[in-house]
C-alpha cells in the first residue's frame, strides 16, 4: 500500500471504530426506549469505511453522506454529544433538533450534512466539489452513498457531469449488499458497482470495505487524483449490513444466520486481530474501547438532559 499509516494513526482508527459502534448501540437502545421517534439507520458493521475514508481527507475537505451517516459525522470529528442530542431532537443537537437522525450537519467541520432522499445529495456534493474547483482552493469533496443509490438517475447524472467537468469529488459507495430488502443482484446487473465508472470515463475501484486500511488506501489515491485536477473517482467499498435496514424495519432476511452475517465479517475484531498481530497489547485495545464507551455514555446523558427546542422557534431557519 502506498499510504501506510503509522501505529498511532491505526490505534486512533481503532478507537474511532468503537466510538461509532457505541454511538450506534446507544442510538438503537434510545430509539427502542422511545427517547426519539422516526427511525435511525445504524452503520454497524460499516465503521471501517467511515474511519478509513475519513482519515484520507483533510480537515478542509468536505463530506456529504446519507441517513446512514452517523459514522461519517463522528469520523469527521463532530461532537458525539451534539450528534446524540440531534437524534433525540434536542435544542443542543448539531442541527438544532430540527433534523433528527437523518439530518446531521456541522458546517464548522465541513460536514455538509446527511440526507434522507436516496442519491439526492450526490449532485449536491458535485456542486460543492465544483465550488472548490472554481475557487481553486485545493479542497476535495467526498460523498458517501449505498449500493441502492447507484440505481438512481441523480447518481448517474452526477457521474457524467462531475467527470465531464473534472470536479474534485470522490464517490464512495458503501455496498452493503442491500437496499432495505432488495439484494444488489436484484437491482444491479453487473458484478462490481465500480464498473459503473466505465460508462462515464472515470476511474473505478473496488475495495474490501471492512478493512479501514484498504478503504484509506483507495480514498487517499482518489483524493490525491482529484486534488491534482484529475477529476472524480468511484470507490466501491464492499461491506455487510447490520442485521436490519433501520431500527424499526426488520431486514426480513431468510434466516437468523443471514441477519447475523455482519458479525462474521465485523471489521472491529478483524482490525483488533491485525493490531495484535502487530504487537498491540489487548489491554491497550480494551482501554480504547472503554474510552469510546464512556464518551458515548456521556453523550447520551448530555442528550437526555438537553431541552427540546422551544416551540416558539419552530418557524426559525426557513429563510436567510
Amino acid at each position: 500500500m502506498k499510504h501506510q499509516p503509522d501505529m498511532k494513526t491505526l490505534l486512533h482508527w481503532h478507537e474511532q471504530m468503537w466510538t461509532i459502534r457505541y454511538f450506534e448501540d446507544n442510538a438503537i437502545s434510545s430509539f427502542r426506549k422511545g427517547h426519539f421517534t422516526g427511525s435511525t439507520h445504524p452503520c454497524i458493521g460499516q465503521e471501517a469505511i467511515a474511519v478509513g475514508a475519513g482519515a484520507a481527507l483533510k480537515p478542509t475537505d468536505q463530506v456529504l453522506a446519507t441517513y446512514r451517516g452517523h459514522g461519517h459525522a463522528l469520523a469527521r470529528g463532530l461532537d458525539p454529544k451534539r450528534l446524540m442530542a440531534e437524534l433525540l431532537c434536542k435544542e443542543t443537537g448539531c442541527s438544532g433538533g430540527r433534523g433528527g437522525s437523518m439530518h446531521l450537519c456541522d458546517v464548522s467541520k465541513d460536514f455538509w450534512g446527511t440526507n434522507a432522499v436516496v442519491a439526492a445529495h450526490i449532485p449536491i456534493a458535485g456542486g460543492v466539489a465544483l465550488s472548490n474547483k472554481l475557487k481553486k482552493n485545493g479542497r476535495v469533496t467526498a460523498v458517501f452513498f449505498g449500493d441502492g443509490a447507484t440505481c438512481e438517475g441523480a447518481f448517474f447524472e452526477t457521474l457524467n457531469m462531475a467527470t465531464l467537468w473534472k470536479v474534485p469529488l470522490v464517490f464512495v459507495c458503501e455496498n452493503n449488499g442491500f437496499a432495505i430488502s432488495v439484494p444488489t443482484h436484484m437491482a444491479i446487473p453487473i458484478e462490481n458497482i465500480a464498473q459503473r465508472a466505465q460508462g462515464f470515463g472515470l476511474p473505478g475501484v473496488t475495495v474490501d470495505g471492512n478493512d479501514p486500511r484498504h478503504v484509506h488506501e483507495a480514498v487517499s489515491a482518489a483524493a490525491e487524483h482529484a486534488r491534482r485536477g484529475g477529476g472524480p473517482t468511484l470507490v466501491e467499498c464492499k461491506t455487510t449490513r447490520w442485521e436490519r435496514h433501520s431500527a424499526i424495519s426488520a431486514g426480513k432476511y431468510e434466516n437468523e444466520d443471514e441477519a447475523m452475517k455482519w458479525k462474521k465479517v465485523d471489521p472491529i475484531p478483524r482490525f483488533e486481530k491485525f493490531l495484535k498481530d502487530h504487537g498491540v497489547k489487548a489491554a491497550k485495545l480494551d482501554e480504547q474501547r472503554e474510552r469510546a464507551k464512556k464518551l458515548n455514555d456521556e453523550a447520551l446523558e448530555f442528550a437526555m438532559k438537553s431541552d427540546h427546542p422551544k416551540t416558539e422557534t419552530a418557524g426559525d431557519f426557513v429563510f436567510a
Binding site: 427511525s39 431532537c89 433528527g100 440505481c151 438512481e152 438517475g153 437496499a179 432495505i180 432488495v182 437491482a187
Partner: protein, 325 residues
C-alpha cells in the same frame, strides 16, 4: 353479504389481490414489494401468490419505475407502482404528470394508461422534512389524473377497485397512520364511484370538509362540539380529482358554514380549492368566512416541534367555534 373488520392495509391488499386474480395482466412495480411485502407491509402475501414476474421488486429508481409502469400500462398491462413515501413523488412526477396524465390526450385517445401510483403520506412519525409531506395538491393540479385519498379500510378497498377497473392514471394516496386502523369491510366486490364524498357525520350547523388523516380528528372535534350544541357535518371527500363539488356545496348550503381540514401545509393546498368550490357554488348561503385547518407553512421538523406544525382535533374545534361566532 358479510363484512369483516379489516385494517386499511389489509383492505388495500385485498382489493389488489382480488383484481390480480381477476386480471392476469395486472403488474406491481416498486421497491421492497417482493417477499418484504412493501415498505409498510401492504403487499403481504402477494409475492407468494403471484410470484416475481407480477410482483416485480426492483432497483431504486422511481423515475424509471414509474416510466416502466406507463409502458406496461399502455401495453395493456395495468400497473400499480408503489412510491415508498409521498415525498418522493418528485422523482416520479415527470412520468406521472407529463406522461401518464397527458398521453391519452395528446395521442388523440389511441392509448389507455391504466397506471396507478400508490403512495403513503408518512407524517407525524418524526422522520423529518423529507419524509413528511402531503403533496396531493400537486397531483390535483394536473388534468388527466385521478387523485384518491381514503380515510378508512372500506373506502380504500372500494375506491381502489374502481380505479383499477376504470383504468386511468391515478394517484392513490394512503396514510401510514391509517394503515392499522380497522373498520368493517364488505366481503363483496363493491366498487365505490369516484367523485362522491362520504358524509361521515351529519350535522346542521357547520360543514367540515376533510380527508385522509384529518377525518378522525374532525370527527373527534365534532363529538366535543356536539356537547356544546354545535352539530357538525363531517364530509370525507375521499377523492380530490374528481372533486365532489356538488356534494360540498349541498352541505354548505345546508349549514351555511365551512371549515376545511387537511394535514398538508396550508398555502396552495387542496383546502384552497375546496374552499373556493364552496365560494363559487354556495356563496349566498355562507354565514361566515370559510376557514382552513392545515399544517403550518414550514418544512416539517422532527421531535416535539412537530406538534406545533401539524393540525389536530383541537385546531378543528377552534376553527369551528370561530365560524360559529
Amino acid at each position: 353479504m358479510s363484512t369483516r373488520q379489516l385494517s386499511m392495509a389489509e383492505a388495500i391488499n385485498e382489493a389488489i389481490r382480488h383484481e390480480m386474480r381477476r386480471d392476469p395482466n395486472i403488474i406491481l412495480l416498486g421497491q421492497d414489494i417482493g417477499n418484504y411485502g412493501g415498505t409498510f407491509g401492504v403487499y403481504k402475501g402477494l409475492f407468494d401468490e403471484f410470484g416475481p414476474e407480477r410482483v416485480r421488486d426492483g432497483p431504486l429508481c422511481e423515475a424509471a419505475t414509474a416510466g416502466f409502469g406507463v409502458g406496461l400500462a399502455i401495453s395493456g398491462m395495468p400497473t400499480i407502482v408503489e412510491i415508498e413515501f409521498m415525498d418522493f413523488m418528485t422523482l416520479a412526477s415527470d412520468a406521472m404528470c407529463n406522461q401518464a396524465a397527458k398521453m391519452r390526450y395528446f395521442f388523440g385517445g389511441q392509448v389507455k394508461v391504466p397506471m396507478i401510483i400508490r403512495t403513503p403520506i408518512v407524517n407525524r412519525l418524526g422522520l423529518g422534512a423529507q419524509h413528511s409531506q402531503s403533496l396531493e395538491a400537486w397531483m390535483m393540479h394536473i388534468p388527466g389524473l385521478r387523485v384518491i385519498i381514503p380515510s378508512n379500510a372500506a373506502d380504500a378497498k372500494g375506491l381502489l377497485l374502481t380505479a383499477i377497473r376504470e383504468g386511468n392514471p391515478t394517484v392513490f394516496v394512503e396514510h401510514v397512520r391509517l394503515y392499522p386502523s380497522k373498520s368493517p369491510v364488505d366481503d363483496a366486490d363493491t366498487p365505490i364511484p369516484l367523485g362522491k364524498l362520504r358524509v361521515a357525520r351529519e350535522g346542521k350547523d357547520v360543514t367540515i370538509a376533510t380527508y385522509s388523516g384529518m377525518v378522525k380528528p374532525s370527527l373527534d372535534a365534532a363529538i366535543n362540539l356536539a356537547n356544546d350544541g354545535i352539530e357538525c357535518e363531517v364530509l370525507d371527500l375521499r377523492t380530490l380529482a374528481p372533486l365532489d363539488r356538488e356534494g360540498i356545496c349541498a352541505s354548505v348550503k345546508k349549514t351555511g358554514r365551512l371549515v376545511v381540514a387537511h394535514e398538508a401545509v396550508k398555502t396552495a393546498g387542496a383546502g384552497a380549492e375546496i374552499a373556493q368550490t364552496a365560494m363559487e357554488g354556495a356563496f349566498d348561503y355562507l354565514q361566515a368566512p370559510i376557514l382552513r385547518v392545515a399544517s403550518k407553512d414550514l418544512p416539517i421538523p422532527t421531535g416535539k416541534l412537530q406538534d406545533l406544525v401539524y393540525p389536530n382535533s383541537a385546531d378543528v374545534e377552534t376553527a369551528v367555534r370561530k365560524v360559529m361566532e
